[in-house]
Amino acid sequence: MAVTASEVAVLDATETPAASKRKFRFLRGRKTVVGLGILLFFVLMAIIGPWIAPYDPSAMSQDLLQPPSGSHWFGTTQTGQDVLSQILVGTRGVLLVGFVAGILATALSVLIGVTAGFLGGLADEALSLLSNVFLVIPGLPLIIIIASFVTDAGDLLIAFVIALTSWAWGARVLRAQTLSLRRRDYVEAARATGEPTWRIILFEVMPNLTAVIASGFVGTVIFAILSEITLAFIGVADISNWNWGTVLFWAQSSQALAQGAWWWFVPAGLCIALLGMSLALINFGIDEFVNPRLRTETGGSRKVKMRVGFTPVARTGTARHKETRS
């Protein structure tokens, strides 16, 4: 690796004009584009869902437990409620809790992680211990207990509880990153010239943590959405508040499975999986942007098969046929 490492290092150091181009390469990745596309779709749903929902999600009707049809695309529940409307109206709560919890948890993790990494010493020891403790204590049971002590837990409160239990991983990663940044020359230089600590953190350290913070944020949003839906599903959260978990709660408690009413629980689950996948894809995009080795799609032609330890030989006209792949 020695060769390429040093040469790539030279590459990075001198490639100033291409730097902005590389920023957009992140957006050009197929995974990221697909992920952002799906996410955008759900954000749109969250905004306009309640308006385009064909029915009042709580309104009962005579169409009991109907399979999907022209008038009820996703079918109806046991009490004749429209499943599609429930999903549409519920999108907003899901995204709201996910993003609020994500923002809160990320803020906490930046605060604790960067502080620990930058200050070092006793403060670091204490803060690291705190995040490690929170990391090991299983989050979901804790969230369930806290949420169940609060009667009629609203969306924001749930988001707050989730944030409180999910900041630790981000803090740990950020601490490690900050620690390595702190020893870089330019940070040392800024310290030596007596720049105030907050300025160094804000202008020298933070810009280099953007990718890590972003990936931590996306990861927390995934966790928050899953936790929230879980809480609704087991009936801890306020079940009069529509979200995808509530739909599943009613489906489960009304024995939808035994009645063969697959349309009652399939759409909500697929929505969760799609949303989760879109966020995961965005995170892969960020990871691969930070660590190009992880890329699955190598740029350019895929004719030459790269293999660690056996450099391909593509002598024009001769051995090429050996290396081609269909």
């Binding site: 040469e7 450099t311 002598r315």
Partner: protein, 336 residues
């Protein structure tokens, strides 16, 4: 001069494929003779390590060999085309005929295996008939060869100092008594005293065992001291090659002269130190013509448009240089 053991001709290497590809090596012609120490010098990014790894096909992705030949000449006179070997043949060839002492000994040893394990697994792979006790005995012998107490056989890499790890790597490289040892900046991470100590030991071992060495370093004063012949690389090409003392006394390429004057010589008369202005070119934006022309104080008309060929200057057949100062300048009519 003795017979050749490794001949490289017209070797081309790219990083990346298709539109993203950049040239890493261009038209490399080089011969390593039996028993000699061939030095490869150049700034970082000049392609000297790329050359060493390309020859053994160890270059990591996205490196691709796009042309040329690399032949290994066996003792019985048969030549082996290294670029045409299958994976299995390559595995058998590696270390048996050609071994490498890698740059950065810190990471060259597997952190989870003992020295013993890493010295014997290579024996096990290439000499499956060897008994376990014999392998251990050989490992002990190798350690004492490089001046490490055989008691350290059970040590893990993290328990050894940097110098010891580098010696272990050298011991490992000699395990199968190969014909060629490539040393890629073998001593860069070590202090100066340790550097020379290890290199002296190596020269002694070479005299005992008779292998050839490709010695890669950016420290040209070390090269002049320890090698027989030196090839100087710039921008993925060899720009000059000659005997070590010839390079030292009379560098023909302005870049060789520049390199020579940027390191203090440990022996001989004092010289004035001066660097080379500018920085080495980037692979993706290689200057046209002679890649060195933007930094060259002696550039003439045509240097920026025509790539000079590596050829013997003034009818002196023992050395070659790629510089328009020493060849007939390109006719203006031929300019593109």
């Amino acid at each position: 001069m003795s017979e050749p053991v490794l001949t490289i001709s017209g070797l081309n290497v790219d990083y990346g494929t298709g539109a993203d590809a950049v040239y890493a090596l261009r038209d490399i012609d080089l011969t390593l003779h039996r028993g000699e120490v061939l030095g490869l010098a150049g700034e970082s990014g000049s392609g000297k390590s790329t050359l060493a790894y390309a020859v053994t096909r160890l270059l990591s992705p996205p490196g691709v060999i796009t042309g040329g030949q690399v032949h290994y000449h066996q003792r019985d006179g048969r030549a082996l085309d290294l670029l045409a070997l299958s994976a299995a043949e390559l595995r058998a060839f590696r270390w048996q005929e050609l071994s490498i002492v890698f740059q950065g000994a810190m990471n060259s040893l597997n952190p989870v295996y003992t020295v013993h394990n890493q010295l014997t697994d290579v024996l096990q792979a290439h000499r499956p008939e060897m008994k376990k006790a014999d392998r251990t005995a050989r490992a002990r012998e190798l350690l004492s060869l490089v001046g490490i107490s055989p008691d350290r056989l059970g040590a893990y890499p993290h328990q050894l100092s940097g110098g010891m790890r580098q010696r272990v790597m050298i011991a490992m490289a000699l395990a199968l008594e190969p014909e060629i040892v490539i040393m890629d900046e073998p001593t860069t991470a070590l202090d100066v005293v340790m550097q020379r100590q290890i290199l002296r030991q190596l020269v002694r071992l070479r005299e005992e065992l008779g292998f050839s060495v490709v010695f890669i370093t950016h420290d040209i004063s070390l090269l002049i001291e320890f090698s027989d012949r030196i090839a100087i690389m710039y921008g993925g090409r060899i720009v000059e090659q000659a005997g070590a003392s010839e390079i030292y006394r009379d560098p023909r390429h302005p870049y060789s002269a520049g390199l020579l004057h940027s390191f203090p010589a440990l022996h001989g008369p004092r010289r004035e130190l001066s660097g080379i202005p500018g920085s080495p070119p980037h692979l993706s934006s290689m200057p046209s013509g002679c890649a060195f022309h933007p930094r060259c104080a002696k550039k003439v008309e045509g240097c920026d448009t025509h790539v000079p060929v590596l050829a013997a200057p003034d009818a002196d057949g023992s050395r070659s240089v790629a510089c328009w100062l020493h060849h007939e300048a390109p006719a203006p009519a031929a300019r593109a």
